[in-house]
Protein backbone atom coordinates (compact mmCIF):
# COMPACT_ATOMS: atom_id res chain seq x y z
CA UNK A 1 0.00 0.00 0.00
CA UNK A 2 2.78 2.45 0.88
CA UNK A 3 4.49 1.73 -2.43
CA UNK A 4 1.30 2.73 -4.24
CA UNK A 5 1.38 6.20 -2.71
CA UNK A 6 5.17 6.63 -2.60
CA UNK A 7 4.93 9.15 -5.44
CA UNK A 8 2.55 11.49 -3.60
CA UNK A 9 4.73 14.38 -2.46
CA UNK A 10 4.29 17.42 -0.27
CA UNK A 11 4.53 20.02 -3.05
CA UNK A 12 6.60 22.47 -1.09
CA UNK A 13 9.04 20.10 0.57
CA UNK A 14 9.50 17.89 -2.49
CA UNK A 15 9.46 14.79 -0.27
CA UNK A 16 6.90 11.98 -0.33
CA UNK A 17 4.27 11.99 2.36
CA UNK A 18 5.21 8.42 3.24
CA UNK A 19 8.84 9.44 3.84
CA UNK A 20 7.64 12.45 5.82
CA UNK A 21 5.73 10.18 8.15
CA UNK A 22 2.42 11.85 7.34
CA UNK A 23 0.49 8.61 6.83
CA UNK A 24 -0.83 8.26 10.35
CA UNK A 25 -3.34 5.43 10.23
CA UNK A 26 -4.27 2.64 7.83
CA UNK A 27 -7.14 0.18 8.21
CA UNK A 28 -8.57 -2.40 5.87
CA UNK A 29 -11.92 -3.91 6.65
CA UNK A 30 -14.73 -5.49 4.64
CA UNK A 31 -13.24 -4.48 1.31
CA UNK A 32 -12.71 -0.89 2.39
CA UNK A 33 -9.27 0.71 2.70
CA UNK A 34 -9.16 3.72 5.01
CA UNK A 35 -6.22 6.08 5.47
CA UNK A 36 -5.68 9.09 7.64
CA UNK A 37 -2.96 11.50 6.57
CA UNK A 38 -1.65 14.50 8.43
CA UNK A 39 -0.93 17.93 7.00
CA UNK A 40 2.30 19.81 7.59
CA UNK A 41 0.55 22.83 9.03
CA UNK A 42 -2.68 23.60 10.82
CA UNK A 43 -3.50 26.07 8.04
CA UNK A 44 -2.26 23.96 5.15
CA UNK A 45 -4.72 24.35 2.25
CA UNK A 46 -3.23 21.45 0.30
CA UNK A 47 -4.58 18.65 2.45
CA UNK A 48 -7.61 17.94 0.27
CA UNK A 49 -5.45 17.85 -2.86
CA UNK A 50 -3.00 15.45 -1.22
CA UNK A 51 -5.93 13.26 -0.14
CA UNK A 52 -7.20 13.26 -3.73
CA UNK A 53 -3.81 12.21 -5.07
CA UNK A 54 -3.56 9.45 -2.46
CA UNK A 55 -7.07 8.24 -3.27
CA UNK A 56 -6.36 8.21 -7.02
CA UNK A 57 -3.09 6.34 -6.53
CA UNK A 58 -4.69 3.71 -4.33
CA UNK A 59 -7.71 3.21 -6.58
CA UNK A 60 -5.37 2.74 -9.55
CA UNK A 61 -3.36 0.17 -7.62
CA UNK A 62 -6.16 -1.70 -5.84
CA UNK A 63 -8.95 -2.27 -8.33
CA UNK A 64 -12.34 -2.93 -6.86
CA UNK A 65 -11.36 -1.75 -3.38
CA UNK A 66 -13.27 1.12 -1.87
CA UNK A 67 -10.84 3.82 -0.68
CA UNK A 68 -11.47 6.43 1.98
CA UNK A 69 -8.84 9.08 2.78
CA UNK A 70 -9.20 11.58 5.60
CA UNK A 71 -6.82 14.41 6.33
CA UNK A 72 -6.13 16.59 9.35
CA UNK A 73 -3.44 18.43 11.25
CA UNK A 74 -1.58 16.17 13.68
CA UNK A 75 0.31 18.13 16.34
CA UNK A 76 1.99 14.93 17.56
CA UNK A 77 4.05 14.65 14.38
CA UNK A 78 7.78 14.97 15.01
CA UNK A 79 10.92 14.80 12.84
CA UNK A 80 11.50 11.29 14.23
CA UNK A 81 8.51 10.16 12.15
CA UNK A 82 10.46 10.82 8.94
CA UNK A 83 12.41 8.13 7.11
CA UNK A 84 16.19 8.33 6.81
CA UNK A 85 15.82 9.48 3.21
CA UNK A 86 13.58 12.38 4.20
CA UNK A 87 15.81 13.34 7.09
CA UNK A 88 18.79 13.46 4.76
CA UNK A 89 16.98 15.69 2.27
CA UNK A 90 15.85 18.10 4.99
CA UNK A 91 19.21 18.39 6.70
CA UNK A 92 18.83 16.17 9.76
CA UNK A 93 21.65 13.81 8.72
Amino acid sequence: MLEAIAGVEDPELGVGIVDLGLVREVTFSAGRLSLRIATTSAVCPFGAELARQVRDALQAHFHGVSVDVSVGYDPTWSPADMTTSARQKLGWL
Binding site: E12, S41, A42, C44, E49
Partner: protein, 357 residues
Amino acid sequence: MVVIGRLAIAGAVATLAIGVWTGLVRIGWSLPLGSPMWVMHHGPLMAVGFFATLIATERALARKVALAYLSPLLGVATTAALLAGVTWLAPLLATTSAIVFAVVVGYGYFAARSIQAGVSVGGALALVWANALWATGHSYFDAVRGWLVFLVLTVASERFELSRFSPRANSTRKAFVATALLMMVSLPLSIAPSELGAHVFGLSAMGLGIWLLLFDVARKTVFQKGLARFSGACLLAASLWLTIAGFIALTQGLRPPAYDAVLHAVFLGFGVSMIFGHAPMLLGFALGVRIRYWSAFWFHAALMQLSVFLRVVADWQSWHNVRPWAGILHALALVAFLAATLTAVVRAKQAQAATSA
Protein backbone atom coordinates in the same frame (compact mmCIF):
# COMPACT_ATOMS: atom_id res chain seq x y z
CA MET B 1 -17.78 26.72 -1.11
CA VAL B 2 -14.80 26.05 -3.37
CA VAL B 3 -16.64 28.01 -6.06
CA ILE B 4 -16.83 30.98 -3.68
CA GLY B 5 -13.11 30.58 -3.09
CA ARG B 6 -12.44 30.70 -6.82
CA LEU B 7 -14.59 33.81 -7.18
CA ALA B 8 -12.70 35.47 -4.35
CA ILE B 9 -9.37 34.62 -5.98
CA ALA B 10 -10.67 36.07 -9.25
CA GLY B 11 -11.71 39.21 -7.39
CA ALA B 12 -8.31 39.48 -5.75
CA VAL B 13 -6.52 39.06 -9.08
CA ALA B 14 -8.74 41.71 -10.70
CA THR B 15 -7.93 44.03 -7.79
CA LEU B 16 -4.24 43.30 -8.29
CA ALA B 17 -4.51 44.37 -11.92
CA ILE B 18 -6.32 47.59 -11.00
CA GLY B 19 -3.96 48.21 -8.11
CA VAL B 20 -0.89 47.83 -10.32
CA TRP B 21 -2.47 50.10 -12.95
CA THR B 22 -3.13 52.81 -10.37
CA GLY B 23 0.41 52.31 -9.08
CA LEU B 24 1.82 53.01 -12.52
CA VAL B 25 -0.21 56.21 -12.76
CA ARG B 26 0.90 57.16 -9.27
CA ILE B 27 4.54 56.67 -10.19
CA GLY B 28 4.27 58.97 -13.19
CA TRP B 29 2.89 57.10 -16.19
CA SER B 30 0.02 58.69 -18.09
CA LEU B 31 -2.63 55.98 -18.33
CA PRO B 32 -6.45 56.08 -18.56
CA LEU B 33 -8.38 55.61 -15.32
CA GLY B 34 -12.05 55.13 -14.53
CA SER B 35 -11.69 57.91 -12.00
CA PRO B 36 -8.70 60.06 -11.03
CA MET B 37 -9.51 59.19 -7.39
CA TRP B 38 -8.47 55.59 -7.99
CA VAL B 39 -4.83 56.68 -7.77
CA MET B 40 -5.41 57.70 -4.15
CA HIS B 41 -6.56 54.19 -3.28
CA HIS B 42 -3.51 52.28 -4.55
CA GLY B 43 -2.54 51.35 -0.98
CA PRO B 44 -5.81 49.80 0.25
CA LEU B 45 -6.45 48.21 -3.14
CA MET B 46 -3.20 46.32 -2.84
CA ALA B 47 -3.11 45.71 0.91
CA VAL B 48 -6.79 44.93 1.49
CA GLY B 49 -8.31 44.23 -1.92
CA PHE B 50 -5.50 41.96 -2.98
CA PHE B 51 -3.27 40.66 -0.17
CA ALA B 52 -5.79 40.42 2.66
CA THR B 53 -8.45 38.99 0.35
CA LEU B 54 -6.08 36.38 -1.06
CA ILE B 55 -4.81 35.31 2.35
CA ALA B 56 -8.35 35.15 3.74
CA THR B 57 -9.35 32.99 0.77
CA GLU B 58 -6.47 30.60 1.39
CA ARG B 59 -7.50 30.35 5.04
CA ALA B 60 -11.12 29.72 4.11
CA LEU B 61 -10.14 26.96 1.67
CA ALA B 62 -8.06 25.34 4.40
CA ARG B 63 -10.71 25.66 7.15
CA LYS B 64 -13.69 24.74 4.97
CA VAL B 65 -16.03 26.74 7.23
CA ALA B 66 -18.72 28.81 5.54
CA LEU B 67 -18.15 31.85 7.81
CA ALA B 68 -14.51 31.99 6.72
CA TYR B 69 -15.55 32.85 3.16
CA LEU B 70 -17.27 36.02 4.36
CA SER B 71 -13.90 37.69 4.93
CA PRO B 72 -12.59 37.49 1.36
CA LEU B 73 -16.01 38.35 -0.05
CA LEU B 74 -16.03 41.52 2.05
CA GLY B 75 -12.51 42.18 0.79
CA VAL B 76 -13.76 42.07 -2.79
CA ALA B 77 -16.66 44.30 -1.77
CA THR B 78 -14.14 46.78 -0.33
CA THR B 79 -12.52 47.04 -3.74
CA ALA B 80 -15.90 47.57 -5.38
CA ALA B 81 -16.77 50.32 -2.93
CA LEU B 82 -13.46 52.11 -3.51
CA LEU B 83 -13.80 51.96 -7.28
CA ALA B 84 -17.44 53.06 -7.14
CA GLY B 85 -16.43 56.09 -5.09
CA VAL B 86 -18.38 55.00 -1.99
CA THR B 87 -15.34 55.76 0.11
CA TRP B 88 -17.23 55.99 3.41
CA LEU B 89 -18.35 52.35 3.03
CA ALA B 90 -15.02 50.84 1.97
CA PRO B 91 -13.24 51.02 5.35
CA LEU B 92 -16.32 49.65 7.12
CA LEU B 93 -16.37 46.66 4.79
CA ALA B 94 -12.63 46.24 5.23
CA THR B 95 -12.84 46.37 9.01
CA THR B 96 -15.68 43.85 9.07
CA SER B 97 -13.68 41.59 6.76
CA ALA B 98 -10.70 41.84 9.09
CA ILE B 99 -12.80 41.06 12.16
CA VAL B 100 -14.22 37.95 10.51
CA PHE B 101 -10.71 36.92 9.50
CA ALA B 102 -9.50 37.44 13.07
CA VAL B 103 -12.36 35.29 14.39
CA VAL B 104 -11.46 32.47 11.99
CA VAL B 105 -7.78 32.72 12.86
CA GLY B 106 -8.59 33.01 16.56
CA TYR B 107 -10.67 29.85 16.41
CA GLY B 108 -7.65 28.16 14.86
CA TYR B 109 -5.57 29.29 17.83
CA PHE B 110 -7.95 27.77 20.38
CA ALA B 111 -7.96 24.55 18.37
CA ALA B 112 -4.18 24.28 18.04
CA ARG B 113 -2.72 26.52 20.80
CA SER B 114 0.57 26.66 18.91
CA ILE B 115 3.14 29.39 18.37
CA GLN B 116 2.17 29.48 14.71
CA ALA B 117 -1.48 30.02 15.57
CA GLY B 118 -0.63 32.68 18.15
CA VAL B 119 1.54 34.72 15.80
CA SER B 120 -1.10 34.33 13.11
CA VAL B 121 -3.63 35.87 15.52
CA GLY B 122 -1.21 38.76 15.95
CA GLY B 123 -1.20 39.28 12.21
CA ALA B 124 -4.99 39.19 12.06
CA LEU B 125 -5.28 41.72 14.88
CA ALA B 126 -2.85 43.99 13.04
CA LEU B 127 -5.21 43.91 10.05
CA VAL B 128 -8.16 44.81 12.29
CA TRP B 129 -6.05 47.62 13.76
CA ALA B 130 -5.11 49.00 10.35
CA ASN B 131 -8.61 48.88 8.90
CA ALA B 132 -10.13 50.31 12.09
CA LEU B 133 -7.73 53.26 11.87
CA TRP B 134 -8.84 53.76 8.28
CA ALA B 135 -12.50 53.52 9.30
CA THR B 136 -12.01 56.15 12.02
CA GLY B 137 -10.63 58.74 9.67
CA HIS B 138 -6.89 58.07 9.82
CA SER B 139 -4.86 58.36 6.66
CA TYR B 140 -3.52 55.50 4.60
CA PHE B 141 -0.11 56.55 5.89
CA ASP B 142 -1.22 55.53 9.40
CA ALA B 143 -3.08 52.39 8.34
CA VAL B 144 -0.24 51.02 6.24
CA ARG B 145 1.85 50.22 9.32
CA GLY B 146 -0.82 47.73 10.37
CA TRP B 147 -1.06 46.33 6.84
CA LEU B 148 2.68 45.72 6.86
CA VAL B 149 2.55 43.91 10.20
CA PHE B 150 -0.45 41.84 9.05
CA LEU B 151 1.36 40.57 5.98
CA VAL B 152 4.67 39.89 7.70
CA LEU B 153 3.29 38.09 10.76
CA THR B 154 0.74 36.06 8.82
CA VAL B 155 3.33 34.76 6.38
CA ALA B 156 6.09 34.38 8.97
CA SER B 157 3.81 32.32 11.21
CA GLU B 158 3.25 29.79 8.44
CA ARG B 159 6.95 29.65 7.67
CA PHE B 160 7.64 29.05 11.36
CA GLU B 161 5.26 26.11 11.32
CA LEU B 162 7.05 24.53 8.38
CA SER B 163 10.50 25.21 9.85
CA ARG B 164 10.01 22.21 12.16
CA PHE B 165 10.79 20.02 9.16
CA SER B 166 14.44 21.04 9.32
CA PRO B 167 16.75 21.12 12.36
CA ARG B 168 16.77 24.13 14.65
CA ALA B 169 17.48 24.64 18.33
CA ASN B 170 14.60 25.13 20.76
CA SER B 171 15.96 28.56 21.65
CA THR B 172 15.06 29.72 18.15
CA ARG B 173 11.38 29.43 19.05
CA LYS B 174 11.77 32.01 21.81
CA ALA B 175 13.65 34.33 19.47
CA PHE B 176 10.87 34.07 16.90
CA VAL B 177 8.12 34.76 19.42
CA ALA B 178 10.01 37.70 20.95
CA THR B 179 10.57 39.26 17.53
CA ALA B 180 6.94 38.79 16.55
CA LEU B 181 5.82 40.43 19.81
CA LEU B 182 8.18 43.32 19.17
CA MET B 183 6.53 43.81 15.79
CA MET B 184 3.11 43.98 17.47
CA VAL B 185 4.48 46.59 19.88
CA SER B 186 5.46 48.76 16.91
CA LEU B 187 1.77 49.36 16.14
CA PRO B 188 0.76 51.51 19.12
CA LEU B 189 4.16 53.20 18.93
CA SER B 190 3.36 54.19 15.35
CA ILE B 191 0.57 56.46 16.51
CA ALA B 192 3.05 58.67 18.35
CA PRO B 193 4.32 61.65 16.35
CA SER B 194 7.86 60.32 16.41
CA GLU B 195 9.21 57.63 14.11
CA LEU B 196 9.82 55.26 17.03
CA GLY B 197 7.19 52.82 15.80
CA ALA B 198 8.80 52.70 12.36
CA HIS B 199 12.22 51.96 13.84
CA VAL B 200 10.77 49.22 16.05
CA PHE B 201 8.99 47.75 13.05
CA GLY B 202 12.25 47.85 11.16
CA LEU B 203 14.16 46.08 13.93
CA SER B 204 11.55 43.34 14.21
CA ALA B 205 11.21 42.94 10.44
CA MET B 206 14.96 42.59 10.13
CA GLY B 207 14.91 40.09 12.98
CA LEU B 208 12.19 37.98 11.38
CA GLY B 209 13.88 38.17 7.98
CA ILE B 210 17.17 36.94 9.41
CA TRP B 211 15.37 34.25 11.39
CA LEU B 212 13.73 32.98 8.21
CA LEU B 213 16.99 33.06 6.27
CA LEU B 214 18.59 30.96 9.01
CA PHE B 215 15.81 28.52 9.84
CA ASP B 216 13.18 28.37 7.07
CA VAL B 217 12.99 24.87 5.59
CA ALA B 218 13.40 26.62 2.24
CA ARG B 219 17.16 26.53 2.93
CA LYS B 220 16.94 22.78 2.31
CA THR B 221 14.17 22.58 -0.28
CA VAL B 222 16.03 25.01 -2.58
CA PHE B 223 18.38 22.07 -3.24
CA GLN B 224 15.53 19.79 -4.33
CA LYS B 225 14.17 19.73 -7.88
CA GLY B 226 11.19 21.19 -9.69
CA LEU B 227 8.51 23.04 -7.73
CA ALA B 228 10.19 22.52 -4.37
CA ARG B 229 13.39 24.15 -5.64
CA PHE B 230 11.51 27.01 -7.29
CA SER B 231 9.36 27.58 -4.22
CA GLY B 232 12.41 27.46 -1.94
CA ALA B 233 14.22 30.07 -4.02
CA CYS B 234 11.19 32.40 -3.97
CA LEU B 235 10.83 32.03 -0.21
CA LEU B 236 14.49 32.78 0.46
CA ALA B 237 14.33 35.83 -1.80
CA ALA B 238 11.26 36.96 0.11
CA SER B 239 13.07 36.65 3.44
CA LEU B 240 16.02 38.62 2.09
CA TRP B 241 13.69 41.46 1.05
CA LEU B 242 12.06 41.44 4.47
CA THR B 243 15.51 41.81 6.03
CA ILE B 244 16.40 44.67 3.70
CA ALA B 245 13.08 46.40 4.33
CA GLY B 246 13.64 46.04 8.04
CA PHE B 247 17.10 47.54 7.79
CA ILE B 248 15.79 50.54 5.87
CA ALA B 249 12.95 51.15 8.35
CA LEU B 250 15.28 50.69 11.31
CA THR B 251 17.82 53.21 10.03
CA GLN B 252 15.60 55.62 8.06
CA GLY B 253 12.13 55.24 9.56
CA LEU B 254 9.11 55.40 7.26
CA ARG B 255 9.41 58.92 5.95
CA PRO B 256 10.13 59.50 2.25
CA PRO B 257 12.09 58.24 0.43
CA ALA B 258 12.41 55.25 2.78
CA TYR B 259 8.62 54.92 2.87
CA ASP B 260 8.38 53.89 -0.79
CA ALA B 261 11.35 51.52 -0.52
CA VAL B 262 10.09 49.75 2.61
CA LEU B 263 6.54 49.34 1.35
CA HIS B 264 7.57 47.87 -1.96
CA ALA B 265 10.32 45.71 -0.49
CA VAL B 266 7.72 44.21 1.87
CA PHE B 267 4.64 44.02 -0.36
CA LEU B 268 6.41 43.10 -3.58
CA GLY B 269 9.77 41.70 -2.57
CA PHE B 270 8.45 39.74 0.41
CA GLY B 271 4.73 39.30 -0.23
CA VAL B 272 4.65 38.73 -3.98
CA SER B 273 7.72 36.49 -3.89
CA MET B 274 5.87 34.31 -1.37
CA ILE B 275 2.86 34.25 -3.68
CA PHE B 276 4.99 33.29 -6.68
CA GLY B 277 6.48 30.43 -4.67
CA HIS B 278 3.12 29.07 -3.54
CA ALA B 279 0.87 29.89 -6.47
CA PRO B 280 1.35 26.62 -8.40
CA MET B 281 0.29 24.60 -5.35
CA LEU B 282 -2.46 26.90 -4.10
CA LEU B 283 -4.08 27.47 -7.46
CA GLY B 284 -3.87 23.79 -8.23
CA PHE B 285 -5.74 23.06 -5.04
CA ALA B 286 -8.34 25.77 -5.63
CA LEU B 287 -8.96 24.59 -9.19
CA GLY B 288 -8.77 20.86 -8.49
CA VAL B 289 -5.80 20.20 -10.77
CA ARG B 290 -2.18 19.28 -10.25
CA ILE B 291 -0.02 22.07 -11.67
CA ARG B 292 3.36 20.78 -12.79
CA TYR B 293 6.62 22.61 -12.48
CA TRP B 294 7.55 24.64 -15.55
CA SER B 295 10.94 26.31 -16.00
CA ALA B 296 9.16 29.42 -17.33
CA PHE B 297 8.16 30.18 -13.71
CA TRP B 298 11.72 31.37 -13.09
CA PHE B 299 11.33 34.26 -15.54
CA HIS B 300 8.65 36.20 -13.67
CA ALA B 301 10.28 35.40 -10.32
CA ALA B 302 13.64 36.77 -11.47
CA LEU B 303 12.02 39.80 -13.13
CA MET B 304 10.22 40.69 -9.91
CA GLN B 305 13.49 40.51 -7.93
CA LEU B 306 15.18 42.76 -10.46
CA SER B 307 12.31 45.24 -10.38
CA VAL B 308 12.26 45.50 -6.59
CA PHE B 309 16.05 45.90 -6.53
CA LEU B 310 15.76 48.71 -9.06
CA ARG B 311 12.96 50.37 -7.06
CA VAL B 312 14.82 50.26 -3.76
CA VAL B 313 18.05 51.57 -5.32
CA ALA B 314 16.14 54.31 -7.14
CA ASP B 315 14.58 55.37 -3.84
CA TRP B 316 17.93 55.25 -2.07
CA GLN B 317 19.70 57.28 -4.73
CA SER B 318 16.74 59.55 -5.50
CA TRP B 319 16.81 58.46 -9.14
CA HIS B 320 13.39 59.90 -9.91
CA ASN B 321 13.64 59.02 -13.62
CA VAL B 322 14.39 55.36 -12.86
CA ARG B 323 11.56 54.68 -10.44
CA PRO B 324 8.83 54.71 -13.10
CA TRP B 325 10.72 52.03 -15.03
CA ALA B 326 10.93 49.90 -11.90
CA GLY B 327 7.16 50.17 -11.77
CA ILE B 328 6.91 48.97 -15.37
CA LEU B 329 9.07 45.96 -14.49
CA HIS B 330 6.83 45.19 -11.49
CA ALA B 331 3.84 45.15 -13.84
CA LEU B 332 5.62 43.05 -16.48
CA ALA B 333 6.66 40.51 -13.84
CA LEU B 334 3.05 40.19 -12.67
CA VAL B 335 1.75 39.86 -16.24
CA ALA B 336 4.35 37.17 -16.93
CA PHE B 337 3.30 35.41 -13.71
CA LEU B 338 -0.37 35.42 -14.69
CA ALA B 339 0.43 34.22 -18.21
CA ALA B 340 2.69 31.39 -17.04
CA THR B 341 0.29 30.32 -14.33
CA LEU B 342 -2.71 30.36 -16.66
CA THR B 343 -0.77 28.27 -19.19
CA ALA B 344 0.21 25.80 -16.48
CA VAL B 345 -3.42 25.52 -15.35
CA VAL B 346 -4.60 24.82 -18.91
CA ARG B 347 -1.94 22.16 -19.32
CA ALA B 348 -2.92 20.59 -16.00
CA LYS B 349 -6.58 20.45 -17.00
CA GLN B 350 -5.66 18.88 -20.35
CA ALA B 351 -3.52 16.27 -18.61
CA GLN B 352 -6.34 15.56 -16.17
CA ALA B 353 -8.83 15.16 -19.02
CA ALA B 354 -6.46 12.82 -20.86
CA THR B 355 -6.06 10.67 -17.75
CA SER B 356 -9.81 10.51 -17.20
CA ALA B 357 -10.51 9.52 -20.84
